[in-house]
């Protein structure tokens, strides 16, 4: 089997894996980083969200081999005020979606900071609008919480957002 070089949470990893192995399976099954969760395995739930060079993606719909030599960050490599905020605001019940929610929120905050609009942004020509609850809900719609802890999730993100 071919060697695969992945840079995860600042560490250089080498694993033997076929090219059909998804980034999600590489993280969980080959590197033992089980903080990233497998929900639907088809890009619909967001539980497997990780950051690549600071950009949020779903790790299930991508081949690990495509991300060789990129900087991958999973929840194990995250140290962010959002984590405490999720606890304070009850942004979870069972916790299965939480690692994906937090990685997604970190990516989302960076996107907003760079001026990226969303479908909830009324005036596209204006950048840097306020990150309202409506904006957060729209921008986080790729992360499903089956327990329905959405109000707590939005509150946690609002607390941390600048």
């Amino acid at each position: 089997m071919p060697d695969l070089r992945l840079r995860v949470n600042g560490r250089q990893e080498v694993l033997s894996a076929q090219p059909q192995v998804s980034l999600l399976d590489a993280l969980r099954e080959y590197l033992g980083l089980t903080g990233t969760k497998k929900g639907c395995d088809q890009g619909a739930c967001g539980a497997c969200t990780v950051l690549v060079d600071g950009v949020r993606i779903v790790s299930c719909l991508t081949l690990a081999v495509q991300y060789e030599d990129r900087e991958i960050t999973t929840i194990e490599g995250v140290d962010h005020p959002l984590q405490e905020a999720f606890v304070r605001h009850d942004g979870l019940q069972c916790g299965y979606c939480t690692s994906g929610q937090i990685c997604s929120a970190i990516g989302m905050l960076a996107e907003h900071k760079e001026g990226a609009p969303s479908a909830a942004t009324e005036h596209l020509a204006v950048t840097g609008g306020e990150l309202t609850a409506a904006e957060i809900r729209e921008r986080m719609s790729g992360n499903i919480c089956r327990c329905g802890a959405y109000n707590g999730i939005v509150d946690a993100i609002r607390e941390v957002a600048p």
Binding site: Q20, G46, I57, A119, L124, R137, S141
Partner: protein, 332 residues
């Protein structure tokens, strides 16, 4: 997932040579649709040519004012581009109304054009589907067809084209640049996707050895006053039941000087509404005209057991968007 050989293309020429020498190869970019289809066994390439490291990720303003968008520009970056937001706002809105933040960060412009239908029976290998298996029949005709198309359908296929972005590109008269070892050619976006007819497995004009390298937008002043509206079952992260992309310019005499209109969620391909445009162009910008245009476009629509509601929904959405553009235009 079936095993395959993985090739990472270093440059465009190598990618084109690889696809020419490997007839059962597929290009892989963002992966958001192809990886899923491979996992489901619907796509079974023997070789996957990873094109994500090709230098096709720039948005460039050409000397004559046209915009050239590299095929590997991610959807999120295109939607956030300042020139797109001000000159072609419907395109930003269309992209932002599709998928989720994570998927838009992965999906590319070229890949978006090639994404395949989400018709339930196309995805279900136990069901008959002429698109998946030519000649097998179409389970959607008598099945759960709420999401299926009402325009451009045939007895063989009623699958809806899923893209939001392509609806805006159809309205904007975009062109698609494709390359192969045989050369380069440009295809109008409105001609890029095929109607299903008797061959629904043939979805685009792209030949098996061709690579989409760019999408170009013409200089189109009317597009500055444009909007995309999407009607769906959830407020976010759901495919369109109906979408409307429209740009309109109304002169001081109250007549429509320029119009671009396209529909999504209702067509077997991104649906440029030429019939409606013909009614609108040069006519008075009134509710009566908008209704007449919507009638004209949907006159040829055919509903199935579960999706006839889309015909009226499309009419009403067209009128609502044109009404909004009239207000936006007079406020500007």
């Amino acid at each position: 997932m079936k095993t395959f050989a993985y090739v990472r293309a270093a440059d465009v020429d190598t990618a084109l040579q690889s696809i020419t020498s490997e007839p059962r190869a597929k290009f892989l970019a963002g992966g958001t649709n192809l990886v899923d289809l491979m996992r489901e066994g619907i796509e079974r390439p023997e070789t996957v040519i990873d094109i994500t490291r090709l230098p096709l990720d720039e948005i460039e303003e050409l000397a004559d004012g046209r915009l050239r968008i590299g095929a590997l520009v991610r959807n999120s970056r295109l939607a956030a581009d300042p020139l797109i937001r001000t000159r072609y706002p419907m395109l930003s809105q269309a992209i932002l109304h599709g998928a989720s933040g994570q998927l838009r960060n992965m999906a590319t412009v070229g890949g978006n054009l090639l994404q395949r239908t989400r018709c339930l029976y196309f995805y279900d290998e136990a069901s008959a589907c002429n698109k998946r298996e030519p000649g097998a029949g179409c389970a959607a005709l008598e099945g759960f067809n709420r999401g299926n198309a009402v325009l451009g359908t045939s007895d063989h296929c009623v699958a809806t084209h899923p893209s939001d972005m392509a609806v805006a590109l159809a309205a904007l008269d975009a062109t698609v640049e494709v390359k192969s070892t045989r050369g380069t050619r440009n295809i109008a976006l409105t001609e890029f996707h095929r109607l299903p007819g008797a061959t629904p497995h043939l979805e685009t004009e792209l030949d098996a050895d061709e690579l989409i390298t760019a999408v170009e937008l013409p200089v189109l002043p009317v597009a500055a006053n444009s909007r995309f509206r999407k009607v769906r079952d959830r407020v976010s992260y759901a495919f369109a039941l109906v979408s409307v992309a429209a740009a309109m310019e109304v002169g001081e005499d109250g007549t429509i000087g320029a119009i671009r209109l396209a529909l999504g969620g209702v067509g077997t391909k991104p649906w440029r509404a030429y019939e409606a445009e013909q009614v609108l162009l040069g006519a008075a910008a009134t509710e009566e005209t908008f209704h007449r245009a919507a009638e004209a476009e949907l006159a040829s629509a055919t509903g199935l057991s579960g999706n006839s509601f889309k015909i009226d929904l499309a009419r009403r959405t067209i009128v609502a968007v044109l009404r909004q553009l009239l207000t936006d235009g007079s406020a500007a």
